[in-house]
Structures are given as structure tokens and as C-alpha cells.
Symmetry: C2
Subunit: 123 residues, 2 copies
Amino acid sequence: MSASEKHDVFQAIADPTRRKVLQLLAEGDLPISEITSHFSMSRTAIAKHLHILSEAELVSGRKVGREKRFRLQPEPLAELKQWLSFYDQFWDNKLSILKHVIENSGENGLKVIEKEKDTTEPS
Amino acid sequence: MSASEKHDVFQAIADPTRRKVLQLLAEGDLPISEITSHFSMSRTAIAKHLHILSEAELVSGRKVGREKRFRLQPEPLAELKQWLSFYDQFWDNKLSILKHVIENSGENGLKVIEKEKDTTEPS
DNA sequence: ATTATATAAAACCTTTTGGTTTCATGTCAA
DNA sequence: TTGACATGAAACCAAAAGGTTTTATATAAT
């Protein structure tokens, strides 16, 4: 399925089938044949999608007996999230500031309280 | 450039050139030729990328005089963000809950206060 | 040992992508 | 009105994407 460079996260999630595979694996590890049973295409096709997802490190597969079980590995989505966060400023300005605070709050965490009245409107 | 369905956001951002175009437009509206000057490919190629970005409604173009100025339209990125948020739970569990609250807080907004001591640790 | 299961790997095919070049058209400036 | 500029549109192209079928190999179960 090509001899090009490795696929990145952006390419990996571009295909709806692959997104569905990720969603499936979110519910738990599965072997190829069982993943395939959720689609109307050949096992080989799914195996190729899994290969692309592997290249992007969104899934990992380990042989167990005669089957190969795949597991979701969501860490690379962080890159996507970071990419997205850049565009918050052009878009949803009110909440983006708050979210930035949260994303950089580290292990300490935060406390959230519902506001009675808006006093910080004009940013 | 094909007779298929319209491109969606996931496909639109899959290409590095298109991501760079978005980044450029983030600094301000630009006509095609000026966008092109930032790349080492033909104007026609860039025009096609802009067309795909338009289909995904990530940019919009309006004629002004003899040029066509393009503008960033980041709203559709919300879909991507929402898609991403699903995977937070498998990954960054502590903050994902808080973020979910924020994302669903509507126009009212929230008030955020730094915590002195963690009392809600065990979720 | 035999057979059924689970996957791997290769060859092949069609459509889409991402680019090019060439030609046509509309608009601004002199 | 004559160029120069800015874009649009069409035809073409190579490679990658997304499938298929066929063949081979390893493991499990009988």
C-alpha cells in the first residue's frame, strides 16, 4: 500500500473507516478478525488500515497465540489537540483563555465554580 | 480535481500544505497569489488546495477587484475538537472531566479559581 | 497427523490526490 | 486600447489510497 513515508496522525484520522476502528478499540482490545466483523470489507483491507494506524502510533498490536490483538494508543492525539488549540484564539475567544489555563495547570488541578453574573465580558 | 463528495474537515487538514495555508490565513486575509508566494508550487496547485479548504468551510473567498481574498473560517474545527474530546477519557483522565464541563458551559461562562489543596482527587 | 483458524504477504485494479502546463477571461493602470 | 496582473478552467500525469483476490504460514484443536 505504498512506499512513501510513514503516515502521521493527521493522515491516519482522515479516513472514516480508521476513525471507526479507533472508536471500536476504545471499548477494548480486539483481534483483527473481530474488528473486521464490524465492517463490510475484507479482513485484508482492515489489516492495512491497522497498519496505517500503527505507523501513526495510534494503535499497537501484539501477537497472542494465533491472533494479533490491537490496542488503542491515544497519546499521539495530543499533537492534534495542540494543533487545534492554536485556532482557539480565532474562534471561541471567551472559553479559549480558560482552557489554556486548564491545559497548563499541571498536576495541581483547578476548582471550577459556576458564575452568577458575567463580569469579565469585554476581553 | 475529482467528482467525489465534498471534502470534510478531517480530509482538509490531512495535507501539510493546507495546514500551512490555514496558518498563513490566521495572520490575516490574503489573495491567492500572495499565499502562493509562500510555497514552492504553482498558483494553480494552491488554488486547488483553497478549493478543498472551501469545501470544508475552513476558508471563504470573496472577489475584491481583480483579486480573490481568502479568509480563515475556523468554526468547522469544532467538529474535530469534539471528536478529539471523546478520547480524552482514555488518556488524560483528570483534566478531561473538567474540560467536558467547560465545553458544555454555553454562553454563561465559568469562573476558575486555583485550588489550595486537592480534595477531589479520587474520581 | 489433520484440519480449521488467524494472520501475513504479494499481485493486481480503480479512483483520488496532488501536482503540472496551457489557454481563456476579467480588471486595473497608462 | 494596450498591456500587465490575478484568477479560472481544462487537459494531462504519476503516485498514493483504498480496495480486492490469491497464496503462504503459524497456531490450535481434534
